[in-house]
């Protein structure tokens, strides 16, 4: 009984935090204009990648509509929207592509411009980037 009380007491504050975190996360999802907004921003960002001399060659063989769909689903899921990312893991997708940190950052810069285009506040942009940043370890292999 005592042990149970301890568990309940310990779980209490965590549950509160989780609820609060969820509310905050939805706020970022809203700031991106929900699923529709994310789709537009990703479309804009990918179009910018394809114009970007630094990395356009990386996408020469890519299925662009699929890339846009996958990225939209991934961003939407990361921001706790009602989406599921069902693509491959980042490590698997980028294996053998010999991507460098500069390539990763070029993508970030193009998406920052896309988020600016759709008036996503800088603070909210950074909340998404904070979730993407650790993927650098799996994506950049060179």
């Amino acid at each position: 009984m005592a042990a149970l009380l301890v568990i309940v007491a310990a779980a209490g504050p965590f549950r509160t935090t989780a609820v609060r975190a969820e509310a905050a996360d939805t706020a970022v999802y809203e700031a991106f204009g929900q699923s529709d907004g994310i789709t537009k921003i990703v479309g804009d960002g990918v179009d910018r990648l394809l114009q970007d001399d630094r990395i356009r060659a990386r996408f020469a063989d890519a299925n662009i509509p699929r890339l846009k769909r996958m990225l939209s689903a991934q961003f939407c899921a990361l921001l706790h929207g009602p989406c599921k990312y069902e693509g491959l893991e980042m490590k698997t997708v980028h294996e053998g592509m010999s991507l460098r940190t500069a390539d990763f950052n070029a993508l970030v810069e193009d998406f920052q411009l896309a988020m600016d285009d759709y008036n996503v506040p800088f603070r909210d942009q950074n909340k998404l980037l904070a979730l993407l940043a650790p993927m650098q370890r799996d994506i950049v292999t060179k």
Binding site: R100, T101, A102, N105, A106, V108, E109, Q112, F122, R123, N126, K127, L129, A130, L131, A133, P134, Q136, R137, K142
Partner: protein
């Protein structure tokens, strides 16, 4: 000697800039400016990558881990009774190693006469810096609380050794050792740095090293907190503890409030309000700090 070093440093910086701007594909790869805006920090008062008065764990320049970056800087501090300016260059190698050289002029202006040194008497100092990133990544490790950690050392030598000894300093040259931890809390748009420095310096070593009150290495603290309110703007505050080794004057902790503007990856400007306390018996040295840097 120092004038030659300064000119040489500026020449090297210019040459590197030309190569990076006009060079071919290989040069563009090596001098890629691939880091994200602002994540190389700015060049601080000692010529190291950091903020204004604090040295950070970030490696200077916009190079990524497979490239090379460099900066040239000019810093200016205007105080009620003194003027300080510095210029120099720094190189970032593979986002791992930072080498820096900075030359500092501490102009006593009219205060020089009051100190018995003569109007416009100027101390000059050379600062050679080496910093190595040893652990973590301030930008990418957003899923962990581990900061980017770097260790560094600075060799400083100030001229007019006879005068420095006459006012009680034990030496006109000294070596600092530091450990810096810097973390970008990207989801909060906040950057935090804490640095511990083992030093004997009096006013960065401008007034020499050690003194009648103390001649041992002691740990001092440097800290910065910055809020990034746009891709190209940061505001922040800094604090730096100081020793009080000399007998003829008190020495106080330094603090500042700064605004940094990153024009692009090739230029940045930092403006700060600084409170440097008492310097060489002159109290309330509050003024402004301006830093300009160009690089890649």
């Amino acid at each position: 000697m120092s004038r030659i070093l300064t000119r040489l440093a500026i020449l090297i910086a210019g040459a590197l800039m030309s190569i990076s701007v006009m060079g071919g594909a290989a040069a563009q790869d090596l001098f890629n400016s691939g880091k994200l805006l602002a994540t190389g920090g700015v060049t601080n008062i000692e010529g190291a990558g950091g903020g204004g008065i604090a040295t950070w764990a970030l490696i200077t320049g916009y190079e990524t881990r497979d490239a090379v970056g460099a900066n040239a800087h000019y810093n200016f501090v205007s105080l009620p009774d003194f003027t300080l300016h510095t210029t120099g260059v720094s190189v970032g190698l593979y986002d791992r190693v930072e080498l820096s050289y900075s030359h500092l002029w501490f102009d006593t202006g009219n205060s020089g006469a009051k100190l018995g040194l003569g109007t416009g008497f100027t101390f000059q100092q050379d600062i050679f810096g080496l910093k190595v990133k040893v652990l973590g990544d301030a930008v990418y490790d957003q899923d962990s609380l581990l900061p980017q950690i770097a260790v560094g050392t600075q060799y400083k030598v100030t001229d007019h050794a006879d005068i420095l000894r006459a006012v009680g300093a034990k030496d006109n040259a000294g070596i600092d050792f530091y450990v810096a931890a810097t973390k970008l809390f990207l989801d909060q748009s906040i950057l935090v740095d804490t640095t511990l420095r083992a030093t004997k310096s009096n006013q960065l070593g401008i007034l020499g090293f050690g003194g009648p009150r103390n001649d041992d290495y002691r740990p001092e603290f440097e800290g910065s907190i910055a809020y990034l309110f746009a891709k190209d703007f940061a505001v922040g505050a800094e604090y730096r503890t100081k020793q009080d080794n000399l007998g003829f004057t008190k020495e106080n902790d330094w603090k500042d409030l700064f605004l940094a503007y990153f024009v692009n990856k090739h230029a940045s400007l930092t403006l700060a309000y600084v409170d440097l306390g008492t310097i060489a018996t002159f109290k309330d040295q509050r003024g402004f700090y301006l830093s300009a840097q160009v690089g890649f």
